[in-house]
């Protein structure tokens, strides 16, 4: 079963651009990326689009489909009404390079600012022992395919360019949470308090937990409930909880 669809694709670069209409065939079982490829192969060979695995595993083909941040390879045409125009634009939080391709350098910059895993002293390779229940939480966050849709949809930077230097974004705050929950991370022993840096250096306080990151995550990671809120609570432990503060003063340590 095939039909003719109208696709309205943003074409242009940093200097400017516009939405361009294409009439294009759509076949049974196709996803948006298939149709974009058909436009590329038959009508606009220089249409720039980033993609890779076409199976929702690499997180390259992020874009906005009818205004909603999505992976093009995981948006089935059957979920869109056949008689309506499908509008595709690049992600609108990052500088555009060309057509559907954006400069996602912001994210790589932020990735570098999060201190890496610190291996425990005196535990040799092969001697790491961790229980499954202790790694479950961090494993959920490591499902992240770095499509940067959460970074794109988060209003903290989407609507406020000026917040970019101060805010790491959901993906990288989740990375802090992942490391803070890693059963063998030795940050604390080396004098690094990840909870404190989340708040003081990576802008955890900018998050107002409105959950758009969770809504758009193609991997279904519960970013807000499982990473950001627990991280906020961990920051509260340190800064705003007098009981914990007292406990740490008199040498009681929990956890």
């Amino acid at each position: 079963m095939s039909y003719e669809a109208t696709f309205r694709v943003w074409r242009g670069d940093a200097e400017g651009g516009e939405l361009t209409d294409f009439q294009v065939e759509v076949n049974d079982g196709e996803v948006v990326l298939d149709v974009v490829h058909r436009i590329q192969a038959t009508q606009a060979p220089d249409l720039a689009v980033r993609w890779n695995c076409k199976a929702g595993k690499c997180g390259s083909c992020s874009a906005e489909i009818n205004g909603r941040p999505r992976l093009m390879c995981m948006t089935r045409m059957s979920t869109l009404p056949p008689d309506e125009t499908v509008t595709i634009t690049p992600m609108r939080t990052f500088p555009v390079l060309r057509d559907l391709v954006t400069d996602v350098g912001f994210n790589y910059q932020k990735a570098r600012e999060i201190p890496s895993f610190i291996p425990p002293q005196g535990v040799k390779p092969g001697e790491y022992r961790m229980q499954q229940e202790d790694v479950n939480r961090s494993q959920e966050f490591r499902k992240c395919i770095e499509c940067f849709l959460c970074q794109n949809t988060c209003h903290v930077v989407r609507d406020h360019e000026e917040n970019k230097p101060a805010f790491a974004g959901p993906r990288f705050l989740m990375r802090v949470a992942e490391l803070d929950m890693h059963p063998l991370d030795a940050a604390a022993d080396s004098g690094l308090d990840r909870k404190a840096t989340a708040q003081e250096e990576h802008g955890l306080g900018y998050c107002n937990i409105t959950k758009c990151c969770t809504e758009v995550c193609p991997e279904g990671i519960k970013i807000t409930d499982n990473a950001l809120i627990p991280l906020k609570e961990r920051a509260v432990d340190r800064k705003y909880d007098p009981l914990v503060w007292l406990g740490s003063k008199i040498g009681l340590r929990r956890g």
């Binding site: 205004g67 400069d103 609507d159």
Partner: protein, 278 residues
């Protein structure tokens, strides 16, 4: 491509947010076709309805706050001398006689604070009242945004103290529900529709309280090694299951508390009498 971040453009640039220089030049603030505003409108309507009703009841409901053996959850515990006499209930005149306003105002501050700082309600009202953001990928109208980094919103972090207080409050409401197993004369071993209303309400209140993100953190979330704390891990697992339903429980308990109060109001104002089961 480079891995550098472009520095933010100067403030005199042509646009902000999605219209910032360098981003794809798309005139529309958003391109969503669905009714993204509907959940926000519903949320706002629901919250306003409750705020309207509860304000009216809190200020003017004192004389219809008790219909033996049932007490309205808005008025329990009742901490001023002007409370109605509740047989066996929590009418402790801690505030003495000088308080002449409705005693509900003293105690409602705690559940109000608990819900106001709740992670779910924050999302709900930031979106529906503040438009920050109005919906995902819909541009917000504000020029500046600092989130919860500074006063007053930084105070949202005290959520867990409200959680601590919410536990005894829920405890008192539980006792109130138990007192409902009496007849209007105070004899035990009876039950009416009101008892059921209070029981359902207090169950939902407990579920909402226990599903709180702070609770989840305190019972186990703060631990690094679950394997070393099997009991707390088990508790954390339960709370996590409830926590996944936090939104639903927030709404359910909000309506149930309103309905429980309405039920007492209707009994106290003589609109109808409590159907007794036994």
């Amino acid at each position: 491509m480079t891995t550098e971040t472009r520095p933010p453009e100067a403030a005199d640039s042509t646009g902000r947010g999605v219209h910032s220089p360098g981003r794809a030049a798309i005139a529309q603030r958003h391109l969503r076709l669905d009714r993204w505003w509907l959940p926000q409108v519903m949320t706002a309507a629901g919250l306003l309805l409750f705020i309207g009703y509860s304000t009216w009841r809190a200020f003017f409901g004192l004389h219809t706050s008790y219909a033996a053996p049932y007490v309205s959850p808005f008025y329990s515990p009742c901490l001023a001398a002007n409370c109605p006499k509740m047989d066996g209930g929590a009418d402790w005149a801690l505030f003495g006689g000088w308080w002449s306003l409705s005693p509900a105002l003293i105690v409602l501050i705690f559940p109000l604070g608990f819900r106001l700082t709740c992670y779910y309600y924050r999302k709900a009202y930031y979106r529906s009242f503040w438009s920050s953001p109005p919906a995902c990928a819909v541009a917000e109208p504000h020029a500046k945004y600092s989130g919860e980094t500074r006063f007053p919103l930084i105070l949202q972090n005290i959520h867990r103290y409200f959680f601590y207080v919410a536990i005894p409050v829920a405890g008192i409401l539980t006792w109130d529900a138990i007192l409902g197993f009496r007849d209007p004369q105070g004899h035990w071993g009876h039950m009416g529709l009101g008892t059921l209303v209070l029981l359902v309400n207090v169950s939902l209140i407990w579920a909402y309280t226990a599903s709180c993100h702070s609770c989840r953190h305190i019972v186990g979330g703060r631990l690094r090694h679950f394997s070393k704390h099997p009991v707390r891990y088990r508790m954390w697992t339960w709370v996590s299951k409830l926590n996944a339903r936090h939104m639903q429980l927030a709404w359910a308990s909000l309506f149930s508390v309103g309905l429980a109060d309405l039920y007492v109001y209707l009994l106290a104002s003589g609109a109808f009498s409590d159907p007794r089961f036994f």
